[in-house]
Symmetry: C2
């Protein structure tokens, strides 16, 4: 078992392949390191200065989360699309992290593999570094576990872990939601990283054809399915910090397993319901392809994001400013619903 240190500089490991592996990781990590990362070759752990770059926290709350890419990994490995899986892994974590208003600081990974194959795993790490740059966080370290007895030759399993920070007074969440608030949805890049057990079943039974052209795109079903998860950190941070938008965002939801009903529910005050108008946006064509393969329409909304990857719950007076801010930052936000008195449920209409 090769021990990869937190700094990915395992100086003592003298096996050639391992040295090249560590060098490749080092260079990928370097592209994500700002001045707050304290460089310590060979260290047992990664160091990150909380204050700096003009930031000085009064009462910082650290935020941590762990997530993987689930069954999408199997599809990505099979199609040799590991760069995208690296982005997915970061995305699944940082999109969770920002829902409470936290800014991502650093990311670490756990890779379980049969053996270290530079060509494949190098690409994976570079995808992670890309995701980290998109999220403005440092790839601070990780662990690669080589377990030839456990895993098949091409296998990769991925666990990710992100840490962020928010001022105590600036942390947002369900308790801040009020009747009359507006639900703003941000389009997903496609299926993101949930529902792949179902998708793999549809592919296996040939009800979903991997080479089918997807309407309004140049892509096949398989290519669309492997599109990396969109990272919402940049536009959401800009809206949280903007002078005209600050304070307008009450709560947020990352739409993962369980779809809009479950995940918007997690962002809701227990005395409010959310009403979502499912006609207010058009789900991308991949979702019709999946539905046509034999999935119930209601089930679709419980398993998939249906084209909305992230939801902001916004005070009515702030909606216009928030929409403008999101558009300036490359998003195409859609008003998808509102909040009314209730008991924590999400109604789809």
């Amino acid at each position: 078992m090769a021990k990869r240190t937190i700094s990915y500089r395992d100086a003592g490991v003298d096996i050639d392949g391992n040295t090249r592996w560590v060098k490749r990781i080092q260079s990928a990590m370097g592209t994500t390191h700002g001045p707050r990362v304290i460089n310590r070759p060979g260290a047992f752990a990664g160091l990150f200065q909380l204050n700096g770059r003009g930031r000085r926290y009064r009462d910082p709350v650290l935020v941590g989360c762990a997530d993987g890419v689930g069954s999408k990994t199997l599809l990505g490995v099979q199609q040799n699309r590991l760069y995208g899986l690296g982005i997915d892994l970061v995305a699944m974590n940082v999109n969770d992290l920002i829902t409470c208003g936290a800014e991502p600081l650093f990311f670490l990974d756990y890779l379980a593999v049969h053996s270290i194959r530079l060509d494949r795993l190098g690409v994976l790490i570079e995808g992670m570094a890309d995701g980290c740059r998109q999220a403005g966080c440092a790839l601070l370290g990780g662990e690669t576990a080589e377990m030839p007895d456990l895993y098949e030759r091409d296998h990769v399993d991925l666990g990710g872990f992100a840490v962020g920070v928010v001022e105590k007074g600036a942390a947002i969440g369900p308790d801040d939601v009020r009747t009359g608030d507006v639900l703003v949805g941000l389009p997903s890049s496609g299926v993101h990283a949930n529902g792949y057990s179902l998708i793999r079943k549809l592919l296996k039974t040939r009800r979903l054809r991997p080479n089918a052209r997807i309407a309004d795109t140049d892509q096949t079903a398989m290519e669309t399915l492997l599109e990396p998860t969109r990272i919402y950190v940049g536009p959401v941070m800009a809206a949280l910090r903007g002078s005209r938008t600050a304070g307008a965002i009450r709560s947020m939801a990352h739409i993962t397993g369980g779809g809009l009903p479950e995940n918007v529910g997690r962002a809701l005050h227990r005395k409010c319901d959310a009403v979502i108008d499912t006609g207010s946006w058009s789900p991308p064509a991949i979702f019709s392809a999946i539905e046509s393969a034999g999935v119930d329409g209601n089930e679709m909304f419980r398993v998939f994001n249906m084209g909305i990857g992230f939801v902001l719950i916004v005070a009515p007076t702030g909606v216009d400013s928030v929409l403008r801010s999101l558009r300036r930052n490359g998003q195409k936000p859609v008003v998808i619903g509102h909040v009314q008195p209730g008991r924590g449920r999400v109604q789809l209409r």
Copy 2:
């Protein structure tokens, strides 16, 4: 794929087994939560207040690391000793974390399984919670990935992540090491969690007998091999903070893969060598059993901890106070060597 939220409260998942699983985790996590954990049912990420409990950081450096349990997992799963694996997972991370002087704050896990089986996985989470209590850190969340297509029925893979904090001025490391410093070793509980690929080979070829009695113990070889990794957080934190010992500890090493030579090397100034007197302690009998099974004596020191799980490099004037402090906190520290001019190498004598 079951999504386990960071708070382990996946309210929307209504499958019975999953609800019971989340309840079991909740109760285990609760035993590790102090007043700095901000409780948010259903949140997308876990929240932890940095200041509090009488602590207020001026210039905090966050420290993060990721590690797994490697091939020991296979042995633990096979012998159904998952509580111990939970402790191992926490230990491998927090012992890395403290080497720079950081205090552990929180821990998260990534579990990959065939399917959630309460009886087995509940025990695993309780082991993790035990490890977290020993390390004084909060089990803040995690992810359980159910992947029946990928893993065999009994399989579990484990990734762990720990976050800690140290004041910038109090962070220690290789640069602080000086000629004349003294190496203080802390006994391991046995093999800890490295070298298990080799051990499994010896077991498979029947050169190491699982039921062989290990000298000076009541245990068989297998029982000894599955002894959980010792957690050094308590005694090391006490020595770092003690009024008589503060400032005396220059650098530290967690002895994992690569043994004393590699890991003490990572804690050493590049212009110093460490000289370790291998006669200054007696390796526990399990190591003779492994060596007798056909491993070269030098190789033993490169693969295993040989009875020393953690090393503190201490200024000569502080050695007596540090030894007393460690003894008061339940350790049996041994002076195992010293530092002399050199070029970053570790000499075993």
